[in-house]
């Protein structure tokens, strides 16, 4: 689909969703929950509603993935007491960071990986969808039914990333979108649930005619795309059952019965109304702007391929010229022919899966979002809705699910309802015994202890320590580094102009320069990462021939090249030399929500639980580990965040004629913990600061302790 169409529509939908969304009002939700609790015989006294600052901190963490700044706190406190909570919810829902934070939610759910085929573009696409308020059902329809070329059609990355394997995709579709672990039925009838093996194959059959095709030219990937063929690969009975000759294509069948629209479900009526008005507006805007897709991408690519082959045949050099031409050919196709052959089967499946009458679809998503915000799901594990798995508060779940549908599958609307509820705004259970605490949390009348997810922890440290931009004056952090470079001795060259002491044996600095600081990124640099430019990724998608990026060299070739280079080095006479470099080490850190993800295995984010996103059901791990502690106790991130920079407001409260230690401590507490210090806190903090060499060092000590404390990383 051409770019204008895709994003114009998304943008319009965003506009529409603002117009039609119901105003935040969670009383309905609270009523249903209270009613259900009394039916369940929950007699415990609910925990009180948390105070305004606790709410702000909790909400900021959940909605924008970081703690609030001092400015945000003051702005919030300046709002009228009766409306400030609803006002700040609206403000945060509209924030850019909301899209970043909730893209990560989708990235975990959909297992999006920057390093997968078209993965970064797909992440950028989801980001755009969240940003512009694309309804959840539409997002899923696109992911399930998209076809075309990786990069050019960003959402096709979803089908391509699992190799377009029908059985894998059936397992993913059922588990991720419907919350049903049907993949068990790949090997046997589901033991306790109703799903049979045949039903699973029937579901897989929707994907049976889709193929993943990769076109290469001289080991470079020119294009990876889906195509639809007439033959299905999904046969019944499966291998191992019966004779091979009996295996026949199985008819695609959707295993879930949709509820009837007999006029008894008011939420379906509301949904129909919301959608009709949206469609009307859409029709007006898109009139006469239909994309013109004629021949399939497959056909076009294969003719380009033939031309390449003809050229190569007469070309001994087979150098870059041919490659460039090949690139141009394929690029041209992308621009004019987005018309890939669509998959009727997958479109049909997408319709069934995302139908407002499919309760599994809305329940599964609502349950995920609820768990993310409240900490305990209606169903756990969150993707295991089965007849054997008891629902916790089914009426409340269904109320929310129906509301979600009625408002047109609007993510922001759903979040607005949840965070506006008392269930979200309560304090922790407090000093009660373990059984009572669990009972309260399961009845949603107390907030369970939740640790910030890794990205939020990272970004919160960055913002608490004023590190989004530099905080020290230029030249205040000069460091000297010895950068190692390997120099090949030229036979005729004169002796290199370095002091003899700097001429050291390979990898062995002399005594004098023991432990030189090497500026180049070290394998231990586990707290930074590559930033993704979402806009650029999507802009590139019209002519997204990512040949340079996707050097499809085989591992053997890479190894062979490496060996060759090694051999050359072994033959050459070389020496290592350390070059002295002075640099200003004035740190600043980017938002981790914009990093290529998942991060490297030993990276801060992974150590704190960012999932690898390869396995189904691989959720965020918020458990504690020794490695986490080492990284946060001794890492550069917390260290730099603790140090007080001359450019941050705290500085002038600590030194100079306007110094005010008490005000400094209060500010530090608000910036790190979003609260004012208690009397005990104040005297403790004063003692810590006074026992240090100077106030700046003392404040660094205090901030280090606060950033490392459990109070910081666990939500209030």
């Amino acid at each position: 689909m051409p770019k204008w169409s895709l994003f114009y529509r998304c943008g319009l939908l965003a506009l529409l969703s603002l117009v039609v969304s119901a105003p935040a009002n969670a009383t309905g939700l609270d009523d249903v929950l209270n009613q259900e609790n009394s039916e369940l015989g929950v007699g415990l006294k609910p925990a009180p509603i948390a105070n305004d600052l606790v709410f702000l901190r909790r909400l900021s963490i959940d909605l924008i993935g970081r703690i609030p700044t001092e400015d945000e706190i003051q702005e919030y406190l300046a709002l009228p007491k009766t409306t400030r909570r609803t006002q700040v919810v609206e403000k945060l829902l509209a924030s850019d960071r909301f899209s970043d934070r909730w893209t990560t939610f989708f990235a975990d759910m959909l297992r999006l990986r920057s390093n997968a085929e078209g993965g970064s573009t797909l992440i950028a696409f989801v980001h755009k969808a969240v940003e512009e308020g694309m309804p959840y059902d539409e997002l899923c329809r696109r992911l399930i039914s998209a076809g075309g070329k990786s990069g050019a059609v960003p959402e096709v990355g979803f089908i391509l990333s699992d190799n377009a394997d029908p059985l894998a995709l059936a397992g993913i579709t059922s588990q991720v979108f419907l919350g049903v672990r049907m993949a068990c039925a790949e090997c046997h009838d589901h033991p306790f649930d109703k799903w049979t093996r045949e039903e699973f194959y029937g579901l897989a059959a929707y994907f049976g005619k889709t193929r993943r095709v990769q076109r290469r030219f001289q080991n470079r990937i020119l294009a990876t795309y889906t195509t639809e063929v007439d033959q299905t690969t999904v046969l019944w009975p499966p291998p191992g059952v019966g004779e091979a000759s009996d295996r026949k294509p199985i008819a695609p069948t959707f295993p879930i019965a949709l509820i009837k629209d007999d006029g008894k479900q008011p939420y379906l009526k509301r949904f129909a109304k919301v959608r009709a008005s949206r469609d009307d507006l859409l029709a007006k805007v898109t009139k006469g702007k239909k994309p013109s897709g004629e021949s399939s991408l497959d056909d076009l690519l294969s003719s380009a391929d033939k031309r390449v082959k003809r050229r190569t045949a007469g070309d001994i050099d087979s150098g870059l010229g041919v490659l460039d031409e090949a690139k141009r050919d394929v690029e041209k196709i992308d621009v004019k022919a987005a018309g890939y052959r669509p998959s009727d089967l997958r479109q049909e499946l997408a319709r069934q899966v995302t139908s407002p009458r499919n309760r599994y679809f809305s329940r599964a998503f609502v349950n995920r979002v609820w768990k993310e915000l409240v900490g305990v799901g209606f169903v756990e594990p969150i993707d295991d809705f089965s007849s054997e798995n008891d629902f916790n508060h089914p009426q409340t779940l269904d109320y929310l699910a129906d509301e979600f549908v009625a408002e047109g599958f609007d993510l922001r609307g759903l979040i607005r309802q949840i965070v506006g509820s008392e269930a979200y705004q309560r304090e922790h259970a407090g000093d009660v015994d373990e059984a009572t605490r669990l009972e309260m949390e399961n009845a949603f009348i107390a907030t369970p202890m939740r640790r910030m997810i890794s990205e939020t922890l990272y970004d919160s440290i960055v913002v608490a320590g004023h590190m989004a931009a530099v905080k020290h004056e230029a030249g205040k952090n000069m460091k000297i580094a010895w950068r190692a470079t390997r120099v090949i001795k030229q036979p005729d060259a004169t002796t290199p102009k370095v002091k003899p002491s700097e001429l050291v044996k390979s990898g062995q600095p002399t005594k004098k320069m023991k432990k030189p600081v090497v500026v180049a990124s070290s394998p231990y640099d586990l707290e930074k990462a590559i930033e993704l430019d979402f806009d650029k990724l999507l802009k590139g998608s019209d002519s997204a021939i990512e040949v340079e990026k996707m050097m499809a060299k085989s591992a053997e070739e890479i190894e062979a090249e490496r060996m060759l280079a090694q051999e050359r080095r072994l033959q050459a006479d070389y020496f290592d030399r350390y070059v002295r470099a002075e640099y200003d080490d004035n740190p600043s850190f980017n938002s981790s929500y914009r990093m290529a993800s998942p991060a490297a295995p030993e990276h801060f984010l992974r150590v704190f639980g960012q999932p690898g996103r390869t396995e189904l059901g691989d959720f965020r791990d918020t458990s504690a580990s020794m490695r986490q502690q080492l990284m946060i106790l001794n890492g550069r991130l917390t260290h730099e965040a603790s140090r007080v920079g001359e450019l941050e407001p705290l500085h002038r409260l600590l030194v100079g004629k306007n110094a005010d230690l008490q005000a400094a401590i209060q500010l530090a507490y608000r910036e790190v913990l979003t609260r004012n210090p208690s009397k005990t806190d104040l005297s403790d903090a004063t003692e810590i600061i006074n026992s240090a060499d100077d106030r700046l060092a003392g404040m660094a000590d205090l901030r280090w302790v606060l950033l490392n404390s459990n109070e910081f990383r666990f939500l209030p």
């Binding site: 190799n163 894998a168 672990r181 993949a183 068990c184 046997h188 033991p191 306790f192 594990p381 089965s386 054997e388 798995n389 922790h428 407090g430 000093d431 009660v432 373990e434 605490r437 369970p448 202890m449 640790r451 070290s522 394998p523 231990y524 591992a555 053997e556 190894e559 062979a560 490496r562 060996m563 090694q566 051999e567 295995p601 690898g612 396995e615 059901g617 691989d618 791990d621 458990s623 504690a624 580990s625 020794m626 490695r627 986490q628 502690q629 080492l630 990284m631 106790l633 001794n634 890492g635 550069r636 260290h639 000590d701 280090w704 302790v705 606060l706 404390s709 459990n710 109070e711 666990f714």
Partner: protein, 422 residues
């Protein structure tokens, strides 16, 4: 409580159990199997593993399985070793003197001929089949055996190890980019002196315990345990093992003053402090061209290190408790190609084992006269992992649950190579 595939399995077992005593289970394990393990419990078990991982696919013919007089022999001659009747390639002259401690398998019948899938297969025992990612064998050991000493159970040197996946964060390898390199996360940040750092930790403990008052749940407690473990490690004398500056020059020279040699020294020091599994990674074995000079150079690096390691471990008695293992992705084509190289060959290759729980001086299986196919006693890849587990007293058929509650065996249906077990 969720019923899942596991319950299905138990139910089926219970049903089988009802049909006869042969199917009876105890602790989820068939009785015969339990008996079998009880029988081997008396033997000395390995407590540590040192795995040398040779990336790229090391030629079997020019190392462990020479073919003298055959057209596939290549440029090297076989030499006699301290193990009667066992010959290895001339590129390992020092190791030859230690071969009475060491064993070889010469009939591994691999199935994966490309780097990625073969690495996966040799490091996990499983064949890469898409969505479910299996843990590396080092994580399996870390999962099954208690941590010993202050250092992490599983340490990977000079390269990354496979992930622990469903075995959990605690079974991930601790990563040392290069032997001798110090992990900056083990000491206070630059500019924070010990006194100041210790004071910070002391204040932090006070703050955390005040915060924990009146709050339940395991999470806070687990965080505190993790902090205590981290501080324990930072202050542990065992960290000295990582610092190779104190290694005498004579020792360095014996092992060969190379990254690989230093890796072997580090591995030895780590297992001595109690580390369960050390993996040392090294590449450069994908010898599609110029196979012979490359292997000679590899020999010069590997031979002194490996020989000295075995000798030193044997001298202190550690070898009895330490299984030393050298694995690669696959072997290489017996036929030498036009670039004087050898290409990928998975149908038949060799591996090297020594020490804990393993009989020395043994050769299991043989390849055919040119090294193309196993001649007798074909050994499947998972059998190697099962042998490792067995040598450590771990039942390779133990099942663990994946995130989808699907039971997976620690090793993909491997059978321990009985001839090797001491």
């Amino acid at each position: 409580m969720t019923k899942s595939c596991t319950d299905y399995r138990v139910t089926r077992r219970a049903m089988l159990g009802a049909t006869g005593a042969a199917g009876a289970t105890l602790l989820g394990m068939p009785v015969q199997q339990l008996l079998a393990y009880a029988g081997t419990a008396g033997a000395q078990k390995a407590e540590h593993v040192i795995l040398f991982w040779n990336g790229g696919g090391m030629t079997h013919l020019d190392t462990w399985d020479p073919k003298p007089g055959r057209p596939t022999q290549g440029e090297f001659e076989p030499i006699d070793t301290s193990a009667p009747g066992v010959q290895i390639s001339e590129i390992f002259p020092q190791l030859a003197k230690q071969m009475h401690h060491c064993s070889l398998i010469r009939s591994i019948a691999g199935t994966q001929g490309a780097h990625g899938p073969a690495t996966y297969n040799l490091q996990t025992s499983y064949v890469d089949a898409g969505i479910l990612v299996h843990p590396g064998i080092g994580s399996v050991v870390a999962h099954q055996l208690e941590r010993k000493g202050d250092l992490p159970s599983y340490i990977s040197i000079s390269g990354r190890a496979r992930r622990a996946t469903y075995l959990g964060q605690k079974c991930e390898a601790y990563y040392v980019p290069a032997p001798g390199q110090q992990d900056p996360y083990l000491s206070f940040p630059e500019g924070i002196a010990k006194v100041r750092g210790d004071r910070r930790l002391e204040v932090l403990a006070r703050y955390n315990s005040r915060f924990a008052k009146g709050k339940g749940g395991a999470q806070l407690k687990n965080t505190q345990t993790a902090i205590d473990e981290a501080i324990g490690l930072m202050r542990s004398p065992a960290l000295k093992a990582f610092d190779l500056d104190t290694v005498p020059t004579t020792t360095l020279n014996r092992y060969g003053d190379t990254t690989f040699g230093r890796g072997a020294i580090l591995a030895k020091r780590l297992v001595e402090t109690g580390v369960r599994f050390v993996q040392i990674n090294r590449g450069g074995f994908d010898t599609h061209g110029n196979n012979f000079p490359a292997l000679r150079a590899h020999g010069e690096v590997m031979d002194p290190a490996l020989a000295s390691l075995i000798e030193d471990l044997a001298e202190t008695g550690m070898l009895k408790k330490t299984l030393v293992l050298m694995l690669s992705e696959f072997g290489r084509t017996p036929r030498v190609n036009m670039n004087a190289g050898r290409d990928h060959w998975a149908s038949c290759f060799s591996c090297f084992m020594a020490g804990g729980g393993i009989k020395g001086g043994t050769v299991v299986g043989s390849s055919d006269k040119d090294g193309y196919q196993p001649n007798d006693r074909p050994v499947a890849v998972p059998d190697i992992h099962a042998t490792l587990c067995n040598a450590m007293g771990i039942d390779p058929d133990t099942e663990v649950l994946t995130p989808l509650q699907r039971p997976m065996k620690l090793v993909d249906n491997g059978k321990p190579v009985g001839e090797l077990l001491a």
